[in-house]
């Protein structure tokens, strides 16, 4: 009897997934296909699930595994490693504590970086803008929690300083006001920043051999010797700011440019 509420809670939590799973039933077939080396078949099934709006970290993970398998087989296609990186990155977007996906993403990025180094192409990572780098130090919920703590500490300090008329409350009250104000300002600003970035941009990964950076009219940006600033390599993680026809406006490091939309895979978020 004690387990009934637990089971009910589990059912409620998994209901979105179960609703889709009952429609598709493609997950198990995809797993079998991967195990048999039929990566193309697995990819078709998992991509169809994504087209139908199924968002689940394990679906993204298996899709990445299928692309990775195909990339390492004789059936490999251009962009497979980038798509694998996108799958693992999406898994982490949906479940940030997935250690296996994190390790796999690291391994795929290393592989892509090696390939880029061999070609003498642009590096996989671009230095992000300061604001995005600061905000990206911790998840938005952490910044939000920090701001809440700051708010409470500041409030406590104000109570001690303004409402309690004992001499012993002055010093702790002043300290609490100082610390609370700092936490509230820093946490609040970073929460607002993270929220703004989340609402105005979508993380994406380059899933073509490379994505040429364009201007608004679709003309390629000037090519540099290393390709840096003119090309985003396969597997590069960037942020999509807006769409216009077949182009997407992106932020890659400090560069704002346009790329062909089909060369990117936008990551699903919780």
């Amino acid at each position: 009897m004690k387990r009934v509420p637990l089971l009910l809670a589990l059912a409620v939590l998994t209901s979105p997934w179960l609703a889709h799973a009952s429609d598709d039933g493609g997950f198990r077939e995809a797993v079998q296909a991967i195990e048999q080396g039929a990566y193309g078949d697995a990819i078709d099934r998992l991509e169809l699930m994504a087209d139908r709006g199924v968002v689940h970290p394990d679906v993204s993970f298996n899709r990445a595994v299928a692309y990775l398998g195909r990339a390492r087989s004789t059936q490999k296609k251009a962009g497979d490693l980038g798509r694998a990186a996108a799958g693992f990155a999406e898994t982490l977007e949906l479940r940030s504590n997935d250690a296996e996906a994190e390790r796999a993403l690291e391994a795929v990025r290393s592989e892509l970086s090696r390939a880029q180094a061999r070609k003498g192409g642009a590096p996989l990572f671009a230095r992000p803008r300061l604001a995005r780098a600061l905000v990206g130090l911790a998840p938005e919920s952490v910044w939000g929690g920090l701001a809440v703590v700051g708010s409470f500490v500041l409030s406590l300090g104000l109570v001690l300083r303004l409402l309690v008329r004992r001499a012993g409350a002055v010093v702790p009250g002043s300290l609490a006001i100082g610390i609370g104000s700092l936490l509230l300002l820093v946490g609040g600003a970073l929460t607002a920043g993270a929220r703004s970035f989340r609402k105005t941009s979508t993380p994406a990964v380059v899933v073509a051999s490379e994505a040429r950076l364009l201007d608004e009219a679709g003309r390629p940006l000037p090519v540099t010797r290393s390709g840096e600033g003119s090309v985003a390599p396969e597997g590069a993680e960037l942020h999509v700011l807006e769409h216009q026809g077949g182009l997407a406006r992106i932020e890659w490091g400090g560069t704002i440019a346009w790329v062909v939309r089909g060369q990117l895979r936008e990551l699903a978020r919780p």
């Binding site: 195990e35 394990d58 701001a147």
Partner: protein, 633 residues
């Protein structure tokens, strides 16, 4: 004319001239082995294939003066042949130039060449004969043909004279018998009384990849006409095949529209395949109506209306895995495998033929198994218009390598597609059967590098067998704007509460002060004096009045008058800023009160008068207090 010549050229399938093969690269030149007219376009094709590491590129075609060359248009080619289980693969390019000669004669074109690595390989010289305009039959030259054997009517005009000899070209005159009006040409109302162009598409709501037929009709009310200076309809979002191009003079139909009879003809028919979903635009087609009856000072230029098509994707419901957007049509698939018995490491050839109507797909879904490798296919195709429908076939020649011995089931080729007729997805399946793979005694086990092993381990991942519980949160707590209000609101609320409490206590204190203040006590003393005066008690009235005055002095100046002598009080009041008159009167009244208090007699000031005088002094003193406060403020 140009397109007719090209079509004729391709249909004639010209001479194939193998030239030579040096260092595993062969350059072949192909052109039609017949004469061309001055101004007539023809094509010259070069195929350069190599079996080594270096792929041919940079094709060039030198031509003598008097030739205009366009191109080349480049294509890549891969040729795979399997003989007795041995596979050879060649890659290369095909380059096609469009050439137009501007003077008659026999000319040598080329030799064409390609770059292979750091050298150039050349093909054969092509000899082309260019003849004057109008000397070739119509079917070849794209011109009205002259029948040399028609003794009395060599021009085919019926008169024995060239067209236009007697003025109007008879082929541009009205047809004798009006044919019945086809439904597609019927129009309820003419948008222009002289001429107009009309474009029609069907179907109006296609899916991505479904054939849309665009028909463009021209109508003229002044008789038959020619099409001149046409601007084609833009159709960037479509794959396009031309079914009818140009204006065939004999297809005019008389179409009555209202009171006018128009001469109508279909000038274009295009099979379009939408490449994406959304609202896709087909631009207007513009043409100039040309002919004896259409010669105005201002040319008669007309355009069709632009069309916007609402293109959707086939539904997600029921979509089979592996369906590629755009695979739409009515299709059949057949396949064969040869040979059926090979040694491990060798290959079999799988030839699949996909045939049907519509947008015939460019790839099939391959069965994938460990130990079986499918190489990229070589495609051959014959796709083109048949009636109003695009029809044909595409052949996929795969080389399939089997690495492990035993009976290997190759699986089945599949192709999901959307059938517009059935409005449903269909899946084609062809089982390829089993091949026998015998062990290869000479097989070499590939060596492995320890570094590769480590990387392989990191990348060798197994899929997750069942999905773990996961809840997708639609929004985080920071999404709500009230979060930020609460964040800053809580300390603000505390500060406000503290301020309110402080203000409350201050107010309370002031209220208490006000209750015990000298002015209030002065009024109280006056009330006591009034009661005593009512009872005609002189001493009590005087005592109360005296108290009221001292309290009023205290309220007005802050001086406690009882502690001072009369003279000192007078000076102090003056120093405190009270008018001397007020000070004098107040002191006089205090004197009067003092004597009345001690003697018990009124001495000229009965209690009511005393009270009245006291009220005046108290009011005067308190007024001075208000003035002082105002000045201080």
């Amino acid at each position: 004319m140009k397109s007719l010549a090209l079509a004729a050229l391709l249909a004639l399938a010209g001479t194939l001239v193998p030239s030579f093969a040096v260092a595993q690269v062969s350059v072949q030149t192909r052109a039609a082995g017949r004469p061309f007219e001055v101004g007539q376009a023809f094509q010259l094709e070069v195929n350069a294939m190599g079996s080594g590491q270096e792929t041919p590129d940079d094709p060039r075609l030198p031509v003598p003066p008097g030739f205009e060359v366009q191109g080349p248009s480049l294509g890549t080619r891969t040729q795979v042949s399997v003989m007795n289980g041995r596979m050879t693969q060649q890659t290369g390019i095909s380059a096609t130039w469009t050439v137009v000669g501007s003077r008659p004669g026999t000319f040598k074109l080329g030799p064409p060449s390609v770059r292979v690595g750091n050298r150039r390989e050349t093909g054969n010289v092509i000899v082309v004969e260019i003849v004057p305009k109008g000397t070739l039959p119509r079917s070849q030259g794209g011109r009205p043909s002259i029948d040399p054997f028609g003794m009395f009517d060599p021009f085919g005009t019926g008169s024995g004279f060239p067209p236009g000899f007697f003025g109007q070209d008879p082929r541009l005159l009205e047809p004798d018998e009006p044919p019945p009006v086809p439904e597609e040409l019927r129009v309820a109302e003419a948008p222009d009384p002289v001429a107009f162009v009309r474009a029609v598409v069907s179907p109006k709501r296609p899916v991505v990849g479904e054939q849309v037929t665009l028909r463009i009709y021209a109508y003229g009310s002044r008789g038959t006409f020619r099409e001149s200076s046409p601007t084609e309809a833009s159709r960037a979002d479509f794959l396009s095949y031309s079914v009818v191009e140009g204006l065939p003079g004999e297809d005019f139909v008389r179409v009555p529209i209202g009171d006018t009879t128009f001469y109508a003809v279909k000038i274009r028919e295009l099979a379009l395949f939408p490449l994406r979903s959304g609202k896709l635009a087909i631009g207007p087609m513009t043409m100039t109506f040309d002919g004896p009856r259409y010669r105005n000072r201002v040319p008669i230029v007309r355009s069709s209306a632009a069309i916007e098509l609402d293109v959707a994707e086939p539904p997600l419901d029921g979509r089979p895995p592996g369906y590629k957007l755009g695979d739409v049509g009515e299709l059949t698939l057949e396949a064969g495998v040869d040979p059926k018995k090979i040694t491990a490491g060798d290959a079999v050839s799988v030839i699949a033929k996909l045939e049907g109507t519509g947008n015939i797909p460019l790839s099939l879904l391959l069965p994938q198994k460990r130990g079986v490798d499918w190489l990229d296919p070589t495609l051959t195709e014959k796709i083109g218009p048949e009636g109003s429908v695009i029809k044909g076939y595409r052949t996929f020649a795969y080389v399939v390598k089997a690495h492990e011995p035993g009976q290997v089931d190759l699986g089945e080729l599949t192709l999901p597609y959307w059938s517009p007729k059935r409005r449903a997805y269909q899946t084609l399946r062809v089982a390829l059967g089993t091949i026998e793979v015998t062990a290869n005694p000479n097989a070499v086990k590939p060596s492995t590098n320890p570094a590769d092993d480590a990387r392989d381990k990191a990348l060798a991942l197994t899929p997750r067998r069942s999905p773990s519980p996961f809840s997708r949160h639609a929004a985080t707590f920071t999404d709500d704007d009230r979060f930020f209000f609460a964040l800053f609101g809580l300390p603000a609320l505390v500060a406000l509460l503290a301020a309110a409490l402080h203000a409350g206590s201050e107010f309370k204190r002031r209220m208490a002060d006000a209750k015990a203040g000298p002015d209030r006590l002065a009024q109280e003393a006056l009330r006591v004096a009034e009661q005593a005066a009512g009872r005609d008690e002189v001493a009590t009235t005087a005592a109360a009045v005296e108290r009221a005055l001292f309290l009023a002095i205290e309220a007005a100046t802050g001086l406690r008058g009882r502690a001072l002598l009369k003279d000192e009080l007078g000076r102090a009041l003056v120093e405190a800023g009270l008018p001397e008159e007020t000070c004098r009167r107040t002191l006089d009244l205090l004197d009067g009160c003092e004597s009345a208090r001690f003697t018990g007699k009124s001495a000229g000031l009965p209690p009511p008068k005393l009270l009245l005088a006291a009220r005046e002094r108290v009011t005067e003193l308190l007024r001075h207090r208000r003035t002082r406060r105002r000045l201080a403020a």
